[in-house]
């Protein structure tokens, strides 16, 4: 009997933030998010495939598949070749399935739009954006070969492959020493207001995107002496508030806000490197105005968004992961505990808002690219936004049919004289 020798396979541990996603992903919340780039012209699938083949060369980590070990999940490198396909699934449909060995991302095209959908364990918004930017870059360079024959536009993301695969959590945080007794947050666990509603068929995501001028919205934020993100977060809280009844108003509205750690700690990784913070607003008896909310959450942004606070929070999570008792617990039990803990945390959150920020592309591409958009699967209404040039796209995803919060949100902006284009998948 002769068994053939096979080449050894590369594998990596999951970073601190990734560990949470395989445990909590399910049909209701797939932990998949989507980044899209809309051009002014129809997409050519062949060129897109060519661009994808080129892109994947510089992101070898994206060829990983996720597998279950006895104690932890791990990424295993694969020989699978990613293929582009015409969009045919509902938004952010499940990607990770523990019984199949498939890639953790997909690339779709539909008419004028290229979409990248990613399982969150593989990468975060910033990492995925790097991938999409590179993909669009290669697409346009191939598409306009003649024009860019002598002179290739510069893509300003040039991290080495090694740097892109960095586990930046491991690099910047050591975890505090000894066992963590204060694993559970001793801050009082507040119960937040939770939005309920009738779910869509098959629990599909309802996406409503509003596109508007960055300058115009920034102008509104300036009038209130605040930043774009805080202004829109406050407006989101205000829109939810307007839909609450008197009894519900006794509970605070809590928004979860992801923080890109690359702005605080040096990192070029295309993998997960983010943390989250919560901002909350407790209503008083009298009518609340938008400016009250803005004042209050500006304060919590200033208070919580410091390197010290972030260091403290992440080091605690890391020491939990490094705790010897935690490590020898078999994976199914770990998964179960993460799910339970997640349910508890969930009770304290009303919604989420995430700003990917400005998407930069070479100037030469300006005539071809209309806009970039980002959205995510969500258990509760969630806002994601990004901007390209002067086009700010605010995407609401929600598992519910009702659109009253979204209507109030956009209506407030349109009443300020801002021109809004709405697009939606249902």
């Amino acid at each position: 009997m002769k068994l053939k020798q096979s080449k050894s396979v590369e594998w990596t541990k999951l970073d601190n933030a990734s560990k949470y996603f395989p445990a909590t992903a399910n049909e209701l919340d797939t932990k998949v998010f989507r980044l899209s780039c809309e051009l002014y012209e129809m997409i050519d699938p062949n060129i897109l495939q060519k661009a994808l083949n080129k892109t994947i060369e510089s992101f070898p980590f994206f060829k990983s598949i996720l597998r279950r070990g006895v104690f932890w999940y791990y990424f295993e490198s694969s020989d699978l070749i990613p293929e582009v396909s015409e969009e045919s699934l509902s938004i952010c449909a499940p990607i990770y399935n523990k019984n199949t060995k498939n890639l953790l991302f997909r690339v779709f095209y539909y008419h004028k739009r290229i979409s990248l959908e990613i399982f969150h364990a593989l990468s975060d918004g910033k990492g995925a954006l790097l991938f999409l930017q590179t993909l669009v870059y290669h697409y346009l360079v191939y598409r306009y070969e003649e024009q860019f024959k002598n002179y290739k536009p510069a893509l300003d993301y040039n991290a080495s492959i090694k740097k892109k695969m960095d586990d930046s959590f491991n690099k910047h945080f050591i975890g505090d020493n000894g066992f963590t007794r204060n694993v559970i947050d001793h801050n009082k666990r507040i119960k937040a207001h939770r939005i309920r509603g009738k779910r869509t068929e098959e629990n599909r995501m309802k996406l409503i995107e509003g596109t508007m001028s960055v300058k115009a919205v920034l102008g509104e934020a300036k009038k209130n002496n605040t930043s774009l993100t805080i202004y829109l977060a406050a407006l989101f809280i205000y829109s939810i508030y307007k839909e609450m009844n008197a009894i519900e108003r006794r509970r605070p509205i809590v928004l979860s806000v992801p923080i890109n750690l690359r702005q605080f700690f040096e990192s070029d990784t295309a993998r997960n490197f983010f943390s989250t913070m919560n901002v909350s607003y407790q209503f008083r008896k009298e009518e609340t105005e938008l400016k009250d909310i803005i004042e209050s959450i500006t304060e919590s942004f200033q208070k919580d968004l410091t390197v010290d606070k972030i260091n403290y929070k992440i080091n605690r999570l890391i020491s939990l992961e490094k705790n010897p008792f935690m490590r020898i617990i078999p994976l199914p039990i770990k998964d179960y505990s993460i799910r339970m803990a997640n349910k508890l945390v969930d009770r304290g959150i009303t919604g989420a808002i995430s700003n990917i920020g400005k998407v930069q592309m070479p100037e030469e591409f300006e005539p071809y690219i209309r806009q970039f958009t980002v959205c995510t699967s969500a258990r509760r209404p969630q806002i994601c936004m990004c901007s390209y040039g002067d086009r700010l796209v605010i995407s609401f995803t929600s598992p519910f049919k009702d659109t009253e919060i979204q209507r109030r949100f956009f209506e407030h902006l349109s009443n300020k004289g801002i021109q809004i284009e709405i697009s939606s998948n249902m």
């Binding site: 009997m1 002769k2 020798q5 541990k13 104690f71 659109t403 209507r407 209506e411 809004i420």
Partner: protein, 220 residues
């Protein structure tokens, strides 16, 4: 683009109603592009599974009814129940683990061992489960796993751990022989012999792969 005068927003795509307020939009007679594909609903109802479930319940009910009408010493409803449990468990395992052949075979073997011992014990211990079923299924699994892996062109690392595990299972019947739990010896002896030869082969030829595979799966 259509304009909703209630929400004061433009609506992109081929919509007839405003996305936000659901009021109908003015017909502009423009050729509007579709922005998202229409995804048909999937009905996750497997007719075959439903029929099997129905037959199972019917069989159980009929067996109970027959026992009431024609009393006998044999506890036939219990047999039917055990058979149904066996069938459903194997079915669930195959459906859930269908993407991992080696794992499926391992699960089936473990399930078969436990269920056959239960059966044997319920119908008055005759020892056929230990005599025949266990050793034969371990050896069979070893060959089936190796052959399917070759046919399906699985890479060695995808099934090597399961093969190793099954090889270790195959040594268990040595206990039956040593403690004299069995009446028929040759299946157990053959099983143990084959398992040891098999194990030494994979350890000698695939030791490195096994080590890598175990490192990955067991990292703490």
């Amino acid at each position: 683009m259509k304009y909703c005068s209630h929400c004061k927003v433009y609506i992109r795509g081929d919509k007839l109603q405003c996305t936000l307020c659901e009021n109908s939009l003015p017909d502009t007679h423009d050729e509007e592009e579709t922005l998202f594909p229409t995804v048909p609903l999937i009905f996750q109802s497997h007719l075959a599974l439903r029929i099997t479930a129905f037959i199972s319940i019917a069989a159980l009910v009929v067996s109970f009814a027959l026992k009431e009408i024609f009393p006998s010493n044999i506890n036939s409803p219990l047999f039917v129940l055990l058979a149904l449990v066996t069938m459903w468990l194997s079915l669930i395992v195959v459906i859930r683990k269908r993407h991992n052949i080696a794992k499926t075979i391992m699960w089936q073997v473990s399930l078969l061992s436990i269920l056959s011992i239960l059966w044997d014990w319920r119908i008055g211990w005759r020892g056929w489960s230990l005599d025949y079923v266990l050793p034969i299924s371990y050896v069979a699994a070893m060959f089936v796993m190796y052959i399917t892996a070759k046919i399906m062109r699985l890479s060695v690392r995808d099934y090597i751990v399961y093969l190793l595990l099954d090889g270790l299972f195959g040594i268990i019947p040595i206990v039956f022989v040593l403690f004299d739990w069995i009446t028929v010896y040759y299946p157990s002896i053959i099983c143990v012999a084959i398992s040891i030869i098999f194990l030494s082969a994979i350890l000698i030829f695939e030791g490195e792969n096994i080590k890598i595979e175990l490192d990955k799966r067991m990292h703490i």
